[in-house]
Amino acid sequence: MPAVSKGDGMRGLAVFISDIRNCKSKEAEIKRINKELANIRSKFKGDKALDGYSKKKYVCKLLFIFLLGHDIDFGHMEAVNLLSSNKYTEKQIGYLFISVLVNSNSELIRLINNAIKNDLASRNPTFMCLALHCIANVGSREMGEAFAADIPRILVAGDSMDSVKQSAALCLLRLYKASPDLVPMGEWTARVVHLLNDQHMGVVTAAVSLITCLCKKNPDDFKTCVSLAVSRLSRIVSSASTDLQDYTYYFVPAPWLSVKLLRLLQCYPPPEDAAVKGRLVECLETVLNKAQEPPKSKKVQHSNAKNAILFETISLIIHYDSEPNLLVRACNQLGQFLQHRETNLRYLALESMCTLASSEFSHEAVKTHIDTVINALKTERDVSVRQRAADLLYAMCDRSNAKQIVSEMLRYLETADYAIREEIVLKVAILAEKYAVDYSWYVDTILNLIRIAGDYVSEEVWYRVLQIVTNRDDVQGYAAKTVFEALQAPACHENMVKVGGYILGEFGNLIAGDPRSSPPVQFSLLHSKFHLCSVATRALLLSTYIKFINLFPETKATIQGVLRAGSQLRNADVELQQRAVEYLTLSSVASTDVLATVLEEMPPFPERESSILAKLKRKKGPGAGSALDDGRRDPSSNDINGGMEPTPSTVSTPSPSADLLGLRAAPPPAAPPASAGAGNLLVDVFDGPAAQPSLGPTPEEAFLSELEPPAPESPMALLADPAPAAEHPRHLAPPAPSGLSESSQSSDRTWVGQRDSDGALPPPPTAGRMYLFYGNKTSVQFQNFSPTVVHPGDLQTHILSGPLAVQTKRVAAQVDGGAQVQQVLNIECLRDFLTPPLLSVRFRYGGAPQALTLKLPVTINKFFQPTEMAAQDFFQRWKQLSLPQQEAQKIFKANHPMDAEVTKAKLLGFGSALLDNVDPNPENFVGAGIIQTKALQVGCLLRLEPNAQAQMYRLTLRTSKEPVSRHLCELLAQQF
């Protein structure tokens, strides 16, 4: 007879459940439920007091209705009445309702908490357990506030029953997970650790879970648990299959406890104590040995429990990553599972091997399974297993097998589930880039990606191929030829049009000699796709067209015709209209030379971490890019993933063997001090909000670039040429961008260069002199030419005068065509300032007034004077500047290669003195200087801590003035 019949008396509930089950339709069911809800409501509201039994019955009905998927918004008060009852059966139902239908009404919570408090104090273990279960099930912050302090006491009290201890441990765990701040650490923690020795296996099981969670935040408080866990584990692993009686599960001794203990050990490094470590290694070996023994039962439960322990053991071995012998054994074991008939085991083996692939000890062993994994990718019927196989291929990829793996993944992509296509695309793109030996293979791979899964090729991927082609002149011709061929397909993906448009616009000339891809053919091929494309792509193609006019003068008439067409000139889309108008004007007004300058090939892109990798990490969470995380790897084990030679610092373009992506080492700027800041100024298409390959937005911080671009119809724009800044290596040149900004706006009338100088007469330290050169690049005279310097009003600016005193000599009001005029600026710093001054240039060109506003490269650090001091003085001053607002700190990723010499040059160029032998770590840089202003001197101390492994810096500035700390920190951080 079923046990359930005993004592179960809620006939009304059973009748209601039967009624629901007998309903013939959904409508009938809802009708029945609504009838019941109305009935219960009236009973609860009625004048007649309900007895405990009826309340219990109705509350149960509400629970049942809730499980059917209906919202329940009443009954909580009755449930609270029930759980306050002294009758166990009523209490139990009351708690159940409250646990399942958690409610945030504060009055209710107060009542519940009261009842719980009484039960916890009742010394009746059954009541205590019910209360603990309820807290653990709800786990709200309010409950944490009410009970977090009491539960540790119950947990370690000598007279608590085992079952109460178990519930208390897990209840505390839940509260700690929800609100760790509410659980006070204290003397009880030591006693919790000793629960690992408890005789009752159930108590140990619950305690391990709690300790595993607590020790993550307080490893030192709990570190004695390691040796206790090892000895407990050792006793379990070596026990015979029947020793543990009811804790043996299908001939496996205490599998849950074993798994939890192994999990706990993964919170710590390998034990230092040799005896403990020896014992642990013995355990791990025993588990691996047992895996080879014939099974004691044919039941799947036996093998699952046994393998659960095995996989957890392998996780621990991987976590230690220090026992080559165990790692290789683990790998072989997983290799067997790769071909197991149980899908679950194949799945887990693939997953586990993924982490093994990143260990230098087992990477090669994992690679031997490549054929099995490729086969899994092709034949597994379950998408989750195929995905694991793709992950593993990605993880085991290195230079030796990249071509094979990439081609298999490409093939898989054709049939892959839509849900994982984007991820596969990203992975293929990353592998192709990372392990490319010849770039034509890389280009082919990316174009294949677009062909096979164009919809899933994100911007990051096709941007990247353009970046690489632009930076590597040995692949440009091949790329042009290949995209040209790809575009000939009758239906080609829009991303292909984008890549094709950009590449032909830059490098179409390299294939123009072949009559099959002559300029008119290239143009008509691209233009045949134009009308089917989105606005963004059409905008890009318009830029390609204007570039064609420069590359291939013979296409000029045709292209002008296209630009002139009403559909372009009066396009409803502002961006397209603007481009058409500007390009048309540019192509008709500008001389060939000017066109050539404006439409010159794009400069190489600054190297940096691949944005694709960043995207994959975002998609997959931390650890996703594991195959490419270099930090972990020992430099001596380079060959694991193909090894990248660091680029010699004298080479400014990557050597063919260098890392394509700059993932490891980006090529440093050619002459460090002179051009260190230039990276900031290069127009970077990939930072812009919209894709405008040839018309990239100017970076916000760029100096000498326009603040407000002229209106579309204005013929005026600015070009700046490199200033001969290197002549004056002191202040203005190195770190602050020296005015090399290339404005890519529509026209080309003037260029402004600047150089700075200490001048013939040595100026006071608060002052400096700057030379500006204005060049008229047209053949027409500029009239009423008048440049002035203004300081923008920011909140720091005094109403009457700005922070800078600028004296300018007037320049001639006329600038002849092709002529250049010079202007000298004497600048004195009166107070510290945050925003650079502006140069406003006004003149008339062809009768029309023109205005330009540019940022001058004058930043506060230009008034920096280096200060030498001894280590002792440095530390004394450092301590004096210890107010939180005096310190500014920034942790940031390196944008340039981390070269100590370059860093020194940048710091010196910034104006600071470099102090040797101050920082105990010789890798770090420490500097000091004084900002000289007329009103006051601001002492500045700085510390730069490079972390080559993580490719990160931490920069700390302490100055006597708060905004200066922050501002200098921002300025300096941009340099690395």
Binding site: K6, L67, Y88, L96, L132, C171, D246, P255, A305, T343
Partner: protein, 140 residues
């Protein structure tokens, strides 16, 4: 816990309609684990009922599968050859057994004997109080 038609029989915390549909759509020979949002789902089918557990990335899938099995064994032992109807009509019992076995998402007690002992003790208490109330009814 859900039945083949997707009706929910028992739920705690995570399990949602959307997940139920995903699990029901899977074919028999597929593996018992799937990624769902940032969690892993471990599920197993027993006759007409599907049992699902949501676990975190680091958790052990196989042992979770055996958690499910142990729970089914507990239900089976308590009800005596459990069937879906037992769980429907005595869903509160299924909850109580679950609380004794798992708490706060962690295994509390793996011994079948100990779990059932706790439940039977509670039943005994229930019987006692009900006998008393019946007696008091007769008296009045």
């Amino acid at each position: 816990m859900t039945c083949r038609q997707g009706k929910l029989r028992l739920q705690k915390w995570y399990i949602t309609r959307e997940l139920v549909q995903t699990v029901l759509a899977r074919k028999p020979k597929m593996c018992s684990f799937l990624e769902w949002r940032d969690l892993k789902i471990v599920y197993k089918r027993y006759a007409s009922l599907y049992f699902c557990c949501a676990i975190e990335d680091q958790d052990n899938e196989l042992i979770t599968l055996e958690i499910i099995h142990r729970y089914v064994e507990l239900l089976d032992k308590y009800f005596g050859s459990v069937c879906e109807l037992d769980i429907i009509f005595n869903f509160e019992k299924a909850y109580f057994i679950l609380d004794e076995f798992l708490l706060g998402g962690e295994v509390q007690e793996t011994s079948k004997k100990n779990v059932l002992k706790a439940i039977e003790q509670a039943d005994l208490l229930q019987e006692k109080t009900e006998t008393i109330s019946v007696l008091s009814n007769i008296k009045s």
